[in-house]
């Protein structure tokens, strides 16, 4: 018999008895406010660690913004030409992968297209990569030359007014891209004194005016010439071989049904695209065929993984270093769910506090990139929201992994 009889002395006033008698029900959800506040107080208490954690999130944010920014700038610039073409349907050789490296098809296909009653007119477009000699330092640099009938008004680039089109009806006259990279020479400055002569593909040309397109990922600058000038400048190109055929429909024509008619009519060495399909085709080339889309996607993934590792490391070591405190809280009756909410709150605080400076820094870098490499990077609400969503998920995942460490907080260990 081990029982020890309690002594007669009893000193139990009301409060203790009340507390003894009523088994308190376990409250439902303890809410989010208190765990959130606890997480914030814990993070705030060690500013240096908080700064280290935030720098990881900022880094990930920055990396993702830059990758997505460059990727979208690539896509935007790649389809800039396509989106400014003033026609409804387009013919391309079946094996063409992208405009700048197109395979040409017989011009006769365009003539055949005229057989469809809804077709008003057809416009052939020729493209070639040719070297331009910088008039200042004599260095050659490749640009993309478009050859097109000036009267067709096919290209809708900025600054292509009637005077500009009229200027290149003269033989050996070209229009130069004023938004191309500066390495091509101070074109606009030279033009201030009127048309000047330069060397394109080792042939003398007259620069008669400018337009605005800008560098793309496939070309650093651009120029436009009439068809006759184009054939003279690019040896081996004949009028019979077209790179892109534009088909202008009569007003009110149903684009989809004309496309079907053309596809049925024409041999299968050419494909028929609407403008949206043409732009998508070009975009898909850059996204998939050129490995550039993959590379940028990989960059985003690496940013996320690095951010995940850093946030996880911080959360994990915070739990490890405070394991006794977490165990104490468990002993006091705090549930695993409550403590998990504390960890998740910490993850969310890191996501928000790291994203904001990351966004601001990215805005600055976008400005610098646009000014330095002449490829415009745009920050949009949807892009910022998308990146925040990625960062948010990154921090949540890190938090969920770190929470497993909470299981090690055994309150029974506190008595030892």
């Amino acid at each position: 018999m081990n029982e020890l009889a309690p002594p007669g002395r009893r000193t139990a006033p009301a409060p203790a008895v009340a507390s003894l008698a009523a088994p308190a029900p376990l409250p439902g959800g303890p809410g989010l406010r208190l765990p959130f506040r606890l997480a914030w107080r814990q993070l705030r208490h060690e500013p240096a660690r908080l700064a280290a954690a935030l720098s990881g999130v900022v880094f990930a944010t920055l990396l993702i913004f830059m990758q997505i920014g460059f990727m979208n700038a690539l896509f935007d610039s790649a389809v800039l030409v396509h989106n400014s073409l003033r026609a409804e349907l387009f013919l391309m050789h079946r094996t063409t992968e992208a405009l700048w490296r197109s395979a040409s098809f017989p011009r006769a296909r365009l003539a055949q297209a005229l057989a469809v009653p809804e077709v008003e007119r057809v416009v052939p477009l020729y493209v070639a990569n040719v070297p331009w000699k910088n008039p200042e330092n004599g260095l050659n640099r490749t640009l993309l030359l478009f050859g097109v009938d000036p009267n067709a008004r096919l290209l809708g680039f900025d600054g292509l007014d009637d005077a500009a089109w009229a200027a290149i009806t003269r033989p050996d006259a070209i229009l130069f891209d004023a938004r191309g990279k500066p390495e091509f020479g101070p074109i606009q400055h030279l033009l201030a004194d009127g048309p000047f002569f330069g060397e394109l593909n080792r042939k003398r040309v007259e620069v008669a005016g400018t337009f605005g397109l800008g560098a793309t990922f496939s070309s650093e600058s651009n120029a436009i010439a009439s068809e006759a000038t184009f054939w003279r400048l690019v040896p081996g190109r004949t009028p019979g071989q077209v790179d892109l055929g534009a088909i202008v429909l009569k007003p009110g024509a149903d684009v989809a049904s004309v496309k079907r008619s053309l596809a049925a009519l024409l041999p299968d060495d050419v494909v028929v695209f609407t403008r949206a399909e043409l732009a998508r085709f070009e975009r898909d080339y850059w996204a998939n065929v050129a490995p550039i889309g993959f590379i940028f996607g990989l960059g985003v993934a690496i940013g996320l993984v690095v951010g995940c590792v850093i946030v996880y490391q911080i959360l994990f070591s915070d739990i490890s270093r405070h394991i006794g405190e977490y165990a104490t809280l468990k002993a006091m009756g705090f549930t695993n769910g409550y403590l998990a909410r504390v960890v998740m709150s910490a993850a969310l605080i890191l996501a928000v506090l790291g994203f904001i400076p990351g966004l601001l820094l990215s805005l600055g870098l976008y400005e610098i990139a646009s000014a330095r490499i002449f490829i415009p990077l745009h920050m949009t609400i949807s892009r910022a929201s998308f990146v925040f969503a990625l960062i948010f998920v990154m921090c949540v995942v890190s938090g969920l992994i770190a929470i497993r460490k909470l299981r090690d907080a055994d309150p029974a260990d506190m008595f030892r």
Partner: protein
């Protein structure tokens, strides 16, 4: 009314031939309002008993009723609920380093979500004043002395009006004078508020605060050695 009623409580660690039985069918009753000291050599099973009473471990065999709650076959949820009605004082104060003394004490009240924040803080401050630390309410544990920290821990263990206070070697990290003062303070407050206190210790200097002393040896309760 009894705060703790234990009948035939056994406990062992491990299983099979290597299993180590640390408690052998204990019986123990602690009436409400009493201060009970449990002494005994290391390895006698004191701490295991304390963690069972504190609902920190699942009961394996026997009956353990704490604050009218049977802990045999109790699930984790029941045990967590019971722990909220117990005040714990640890060997090493175990205060949260990133919270002020007042906020540490108020943590014990955060388990009652419908309590107003102002009420929570007022009760925490009142309890700090009761342990003589009214002026340290906004100090972080790092700047407090060992004795002060343990007094904050006592305030935390008392503030939510628990039916039972469990303490594990509460004087182990303190010098003898501070340790005794702290325990006298605990005794005074327990009597003032009518709390039941169960202290595991092998500090002979604090025997005087107990209403009753029980001793353990090899997993069995024994008559305490005379002082």
């Amino acid at each position: 009314m009894n705060a703790v009623e234990i009948r035939g409580l056994s406990h062992r660690y491990g299983s099979g031939p290597t299993a180590l039985t640390v408690l052998h069918g204990l019986d123990l009753v602690i009436p409400a309002g009493e201060i009970v000291l449990l002494t005994g050599p290391s390895g006698s099973g004191k701490t295991t008993l304390l963690t069972l009473i504190g609902a920190l471990r699942a009961v394996q065999a026997g009956s353990c009723r704490v604050l009218q709650q049977e802990l045999a076959q109790a699930d984790e949820r029941t045990r967590v609920a019971l722990r909220r009605r117990i005040g714990f004082i640890f060997q090493h104060h175990n205060l949260l380093g990133f919270l002020t003394a007042r906020d540490n004490v108020a943590m014990a009240l955060e388990l009652a979500p419908d309590l107003e924040e102002a009420e929570r803080l007022a009760r925490a401050e009142a309890m700090l004043a009761a342990v003589g630390l009214a002026d340290k309410a906004h100090a972080y544990p790092a700047v407090l002395s060992g004795g002060q920290r343990q007094r904050v821990a006592i305030a935390r263990a008392l503030v939510h009006e628990p039916g039972l206070i469990l303490a594990d070697e509460p004087t182990a990290a303190l010098d003898s004078k501070t340790g005794h003062e702290t325990m006298v303070l605990l005794q005074r407050l327990a009597k003032e508020f009518g709390r039941t206190v169960f202290i595991v210790t092998h500090d002979p200097r604090i025997r005087d605060i107990a209403d009753r002393i029980v001793a353990m040896e090899d997993g069995r309760l024994v008559e305490p050695a005379a002082t």
